[in-house]
Symmetry: C2
Subunit: 404 residues, 2 copies
């Protein structure tokens, strides 16, 4: 009898968790597993803002996939997914085709530009390791260039961050810590540097406790961040951004660096492959399968799960992706063994938003926290992700131990 | 009686040596000394190629001027020279005016582009600390960007060095050592990187012993450098350079980075101030004064001294600038004391050209040397410059001790 083959697309939090859980739960030779990923490494998406600001080296936010999979049970294939042909039960890679019996789609998110002109061309997005280190180097180059020019362009020292959601705020916290180092490195007066956060919504960190939001804003403002709240980005240009001002007026903000951190959408592979989706996210069945597809699981940022308490979708997070990976692995084995599938239920243990190396705000175990306590909690959460996927040895290798 | 005032313009090798020698040789309250420099630091011009390649941090190639001058005897003024008004005996700075009784002009060199189109706009020159770290960051940014683009542009990984003289060859040596590090940092296949040296003359390092030149070329080629000798740069463009090929043909070399290292000229302040000069260099009297100016000494890269053995000018080097500084200080004191001035005589102890951290070629004390021996000698020469200007404590602070 031919062994059933599971193909997992993407080695982010969801995909890699599925793979490592499967290798633990499966019997010897029970099933064939192939894990496909563009790079040979997994990266901590939730740490990329640090690599982008230059406060943590990008090699600290990634590790080799082969180091956490059991190569006797999981075959790793480095490849780039182009499209999924569900009718033919195969995946088209840039490198060739891959047939499957069961498929796990965990291909992650893309930056969502909401059709705003110029963002794709002129703004950076914190989407992966390549992008993160390019942002770091771009900012460094702006600072390095400033003193070489006879006519000094102060806009080289202006960094605009579009969006005051989770990623935007966390990136601002790192930037505010990084700027004094950059000023020292390139002989620049810190007063000439501007960090501006532009957010269309009427508040930063929507959904967060207002006390904590006020604390976060005050801390970041103290470190030099300027907030323009209730201000929509109309366009990104070669020299900066154009924002709405009042009813009809617009204003240009000149900036050497624009980082767009105002939202993500599911991967465009989802629509390309014919799944019904909202912004690349598929409303999955309780068992995490795509409606109408008995053999396709969709987890992580491309899945949409409703939080029934408030009747709105959960935001895509690493926490949910990992929890889905665990259930997805169990359901795959159940399918193969002819058992019943279980329903996924998110268990939100807490949410902590970093404000830089030693500061944070958050809610965990139902308690509000800020400052050092929250920062400690954030690092514990970061280490926990490593623990869940790679075990204690990975925590020792890549964990965060600069605890207060 | 009013004290005579000596103003020294520039704190490079020549100017700083003059200042430190004066403070040693002068009597208490014998003379007033002002030292003017654009930055508050001195940098080792002969080490800038290392900072440019990124193999030595730019803070290692500079030190604070106030740390080596005796502030009871020498007043340091941070200022930028615009013009010298010899008839009025004053210097125009961007920040104001400075009268003098005796003037030392040691304002250093500028990059010489020989009127080649586009070089000023599109090529970098290794001229100072600001420029060096910009080159380092520009190259890093090219490497960081390569993997972020869907359509890979291999020219981002091409570095063209114009000129195979001293600076060009030393920079190539550092670059060749730096590229493997950059490839590791940015996940780039080293085979995709190109380092191309374009030189119009029929040989590299003209004037050097042919055996040593062959050794240098072989070593650099082994590390991945391609030489295009007898090839003239016709133009620099936004995308690379255009070189002559045969009689009338031209060829474009696409390159993300072009560094022009094919020559220097004296500072344009010289011509602006009405001194008779060839490419910014004044043929000074044997006592180092400018012809027709009893009160103006010109030393370093803006002075021209003939090597009578071959009836050609000495190339401008740190070695000669420092020797001139010593004689200039003695002649200034002689002038003030009404004594006779002495004639400067260059004493070339040797010339060593680095090929990277652990390799070099050179002639010192009449002996040819290469490899580790020459590299050791090079570091000793570098340390000697520190010793002569700042004494043993500066050698300990900034010296090169990674000796083989």
């Amino acid at each position: 009898m031919r062994k059933q083959k599971i193909v997992i697309l993407g080695a982010g939090y969801g995909g890699l968790m599925t793979a490592t859980q499967l290798q633990k739960g499966m019997g010897m030779n029970e099933v064939e597993i192939q894990l496909v990923n563009k790079n040979d490494y997994h990266y901590e998406t939730t740490w990329l803002h640090e690599a982008s600001a230059g406060t943590l080296h990008h090699d600290r936010v990634r590790y080799n996939i082969r180091d956490v999979i059991d190569r006797n049970k999981v075959e790793f294939i480095q490849g780039t997914v182009v499209e999924i042909k569900t009718e033919d039960k195969k995946v088209i890679l840039e490198e060739g085709e891959l047939p499957y019996d069961y498929l796990v789609v965990s291909v992650g998110a893309e930056s969502e530009t909401f059709g705003i002109k110029g963002l794709k061309e002129y703004a950076f997005s914190i989407v992966n390791v390549d992008a993160a280190r390019q942002i770091r180097e771009h900012i460094e180059y702006q600072f390095a260039t400033y003193n070489t020019e006879v006519e000094k362009k102060e806009e080289r020292l202006t960094i605009v961050v579009g969006g005051a959601g989770f990623t935007g705020i966390e990136f601002l916290g790192e930037l505010a810590n990084r700027v004094p180092e950059l000023c020292k490195e390139y002989d620049i007066d810190p007063l000439k540097v501007k960090i501006i956060c532009v957010e269309a919504a009427p508040t930063v960190l929507p959904g967060f406790d207002p006390d904590l939001v006020n604390y976060a804003m005050a801390q970041l403002e103290r470190k030099g961040v300027t907030f323009m709240i209730g201000t929509a980005v109309k366009e990104a240009t070669e020299t900066g951004i154009i924002v709405g001002k009042g009813e009809d007026e617009v204003e240009e903000i000149k900036a050497g660096t624009v980082v767009w951190a105002a939202g993500v959408r599911g991967n465009s592979i989802i629509e390309k492959s014919g799944f019904e989706a909202m912004r690349g996210r598929v409303k999955v069945q309780p068992d995490l399968r795509a409606p109408g597809h008995e053999d396709v699981f969709i987890i992580g940022d491309c899945s949409l799960v409703i939080n029934e308490e408030i009747n709105r979708p959960y935001p895509p997070t690493a926490q949910i992706a990992m929890q889905q990976g665990i259930v997805c692995a169990r359901n795959l084995l159940a399918l193969i063994r002819g058992k019943e599938l279980e329903a996924f239920k998110a268990d939100i243990k807490g949410t902590v938003c970093s404000l830089g190396e030693d500061d944070a705000i958050g809610v965990a175990f139902g308690k509000k926290m800020k400052g050092g306590t929250a920062s400690f909690m954030k690092k514990m959460i970061d280490n926990r992700a490593l623990l869940m996927i790679g075990g204690p040895s990975l925590v020792l290798k890549k964990g965060k131990f600069n605890l207060l």
